[in-house]
């Protein structure tokens, strides 16, 4: 056990020291040939973000926290509007839908979730690529679509793109942090404290093609505070089309 623990510790130290290439785990992609120039004045329809915020118990269970979730949702929505305004895009909240419309939105939200997980699993994660995606990756192809049915989504007529956002945060509880320290100092077992995962995707509302996707399973920014939410939205919308072309954007996002 001691030998194994030392090995683990050695491996961790090595991992920290070894200069890893920046693209060890890709987490963002843009459809080939897609460009969204800054200040193009496009309308982006935002569907209700899936937000879950809570704590992580000592044993690693997710402990949902209603208050944090409410605050995070409000903070993220405000930060998103500010960020997109800085990019010169108009952000439109998707209209409240009823009946069949609401069912359609729900189905596309679920489809987008499944698609994002497929992209993370089979295109972004190198060791697990599907044969077709290996070939596509080498050629720099990012080719995923929700299908042209998206044009029937409520509000799609008045917008150019749809933005889907998912965010899950679990903050390590005090117990978890103490365990983490003890586990590292004692037997040298690595214990992860906290989970901060999110993905965001931009979908063309005419064709249904996913034109940009960003998925990050370890993000920063405390979404429970307005400043943290701004940082988080900055990371969620990292490499958002048009953001690199606009040097004013990062400065504007802090206002």
């Amino acid at each position: 056990m001691k030998k194994r623990a030392r090995l683990v510790a050695a491996a961790m130290t090595l991992a920290a020291l070894y200069p890893q290439p920046a693209a060890a785990q890709e987490h963002t992609a843009v459809k080939a040939g897609f460009a969204l120039p800054a200040n193009s004045g496009k309308t982006i329809l935002v569907f209700r973000p899936a937000v879950r915020v809570g704590a992580q118990s000592t044993g690693g269970l997710f402990e949902p926290n209603g208050d944090w979730t409410d605050r995070a949702r409000a903070n993220l929505e405000a930060a998103l509007a500010a960020r997109q305004a800085a990019l010169g895009n108009i952000v439109l909240a998707a209209p409240v839908a009823f009946g069949d419309d609401a069912r359609l939105v729900e189905e596309y939200q679920a489809l987008f979730g499944a698609l994002s997980r497929a992209v993370i699993g089979y295109q972004f994660f190198r060791g697990n690529r599907l044969p077709t995606k290996k070939r596509e990756n080498k050629a720099g192809v990012f080719d995923w679509s929700l299908g042209s049915g998206v044009s029937a989504l409520p509000g799609a007529k008045d917008a150019d793109y749809a933005l889907f956002i998912y965010d899950k945060d679990a903050y390590g509880s005090t117990g978890r942090k103490i365990l983490q320290i003890f586990a590292a100092l004692g037997p040298g077992i690595p214990v992860k404290s906290g989970e901060h995962a999110g993905y965001a995707g931009l979908v063309d509302l005419r064709s249904g093609d996913v034109v940009w996707l960003n998925a990050d399973l370890a993000m920063g920014g405390d979404v429970r505070t307005p400043e943290g939410a701004q940082k988080r939205i900055g990371q969620l919308l990292e490499d958002f089309p048009g953001s690199t072309a606009a040097p004013a954007a990062p400065a504007a996002s802090t206002k």
């Binding site: 056990m1 118990s57 000592t58 949902p64 208050d67 939105v105 729900e106 040298g188 214990v191």
Partner: protein, 390 residues
């Protein structure tokens, strides 16, 4: 059955009436508010789910049975969702969303039996079992993660051995905690039934039928006879035999003559039986499906039941099954000559047994009865080729 003895000894008096109702309840504390928030988000998804059965009449009926069981005041706390899922289950979330699976509706025979299951779920809700289970689970995993860290500091064999013992002890305790919650919910469920106008003895029948179904299912697969009197170490629920016996003991003896609402239940479910049976047959569980069809037809088989039995045999598809299936469809047609599904099944069975001309005749009648059927084009092709070849 030494395990059952103490339970049965304790349960010889009828279940007590439920505690006084506390009215609209708001979640208390971080954990409970958090759980409710999660459930509220789930409900958003659920309300727009494609598996939901939105038929107003069926929803109102099932809701009526819940209200008749738990009483009008408690009933207001529940929001009912019927899911098209062919499994024997129902649940109730901490925020008051009750999910009823279509497989449950197919399996219970009366309002009292349905009320027994819904009352059980309401018992979980009223006792706030989910919250207690969450807390117990958290406490258990907290201890275990400290155990893992401390075990890592001990010499290898000793540490691993102690940790494994501790894991078994904690997981076993959590399973027992869950079984005790189920017993508590059973007690509440039958308490509601005792106080209602429905016959509480029906609760025991539910579990007897579950056992018979499991026996038939195992027999048709050639498996060993299932045991219902033992509690596996990690079981989340008590053994079925124990539940049947406890329910029988907890029911008020003087209520045995009450109406169980079987006729009303059969009438309300009649329009849904073909769909629910179709879902059940697709589970590929011949023994259980055969038993359920037989149960539904115990007072005389109807045309839809003959069609279901025909579908079941045709799906298994041994040559002898196809002959039997054709016979079952013919029985259905004798009762109702205008049932399109019977003509379709008959035609397809006859085709497969080589009687193509007769088969084509039945399929033609199917297309006449249901010209807009989704498979009309495919069946039409079969009819057109029937005269060729041979």
């Amino acid at each position: 059955m030494p395990v059952l003895a103490p339970v049965l000894a304790a349960a010889t008096t009828p279940a007590p009436p439920p505690p006084p109702y506390t009215g609209a309840y708001q979640p208390q504390g971080v954990d409970e508010i958090g759980l409710w928030k999660e459930m509220d988000e789930d409900e958003r998804v659920l309300a727009n789910s494609p598996v939901l059965i939105r038929d107003e009449a069926l929803n109102a009926y099932v809701r009526g049975v819940l209200c008749a069981t738990v009483g009008a005041d408690r009933c207001k706390a529940a929001r009912l969702y019927i899911l098209r899922t062919p499994l024997f289950n129902a649940n109730m979330a901490p925020n008051g969303t009750m999910r009823v699976f279509s497989g449950l509706l197919l399996r219970v025979r009366s309002e009292a039996e349905l009320g027994a299951v819904l009352g059980h779920e309401f018992g979980h809700f009223e006792q706030r079992h989910s919250l207690a289970a969450f807390k117990a689970h958290r406490a258990g995993t907290d201890v275990l993660s400290w155990g893992a860290v401390l075990a890592g500091m001990l010499p290898y064999a000793q540490g691993a051995y102690s940790l494994r013992n501790m894991q078994i002890s904690i997981y076993g305790r959590l399973s027992r905690f869950s079984r005790d919650q189920e017993r508590d919910a059973d007690l509440h469920g039958i308490g509601y039934l005792n106080g209602s106008a429905l016959r509480p003895q029906a609760a025991s029948v539910v579990w007897q039928n579950v056992m018979t179904e499991a026996e038939r299912s195992a027999a048709a697969r050639g498996q060993a006879h299932p045991r219902f009197d033992r509690i596996p170490f990690f079981a989340s629920h008590p053994a079925d035999a124990e539940r049947a016996a406890t329910m029988a003991a907890l029911a008020r003896p003087d209520a045995a003559t009450r109406d169980d609402g079987a006729a009303r239940y059969a009438a309300a479910l009649a329009p849904w039986l073909p769909l629910f049976l179709d879902d059940q047959i697709k589970l590929n569980d011949f023994g259980a499906s055969d038993y359920l069809i037989g149960m539904l037809g115990e007072h005389g088989a109807t045309a839809p039941l003959w069609v279901a039995r025909g579908d079941l045999y045709r799906a298994r598809g041994y040559p002898r099954d196809l002959v039997s299936a054709a016979e079952f469809y013919a029985n259905a047609i004798a009762l109702d000559p205008n049932l399109p599904e019977a003509q379709r099944g008959l035609g397809l069975s006859l085709f497969k047994t080589g009687r193509r001309a007769e088969g084509a005749e039945a399929l033609r009648r199917y297309l006449q009865l249901k010209p807009a059927a989704p498979d009309a084009a495919m069946i039409g092709m079969l009819v057109a080729t029937a005269g060729q070849g041979q």
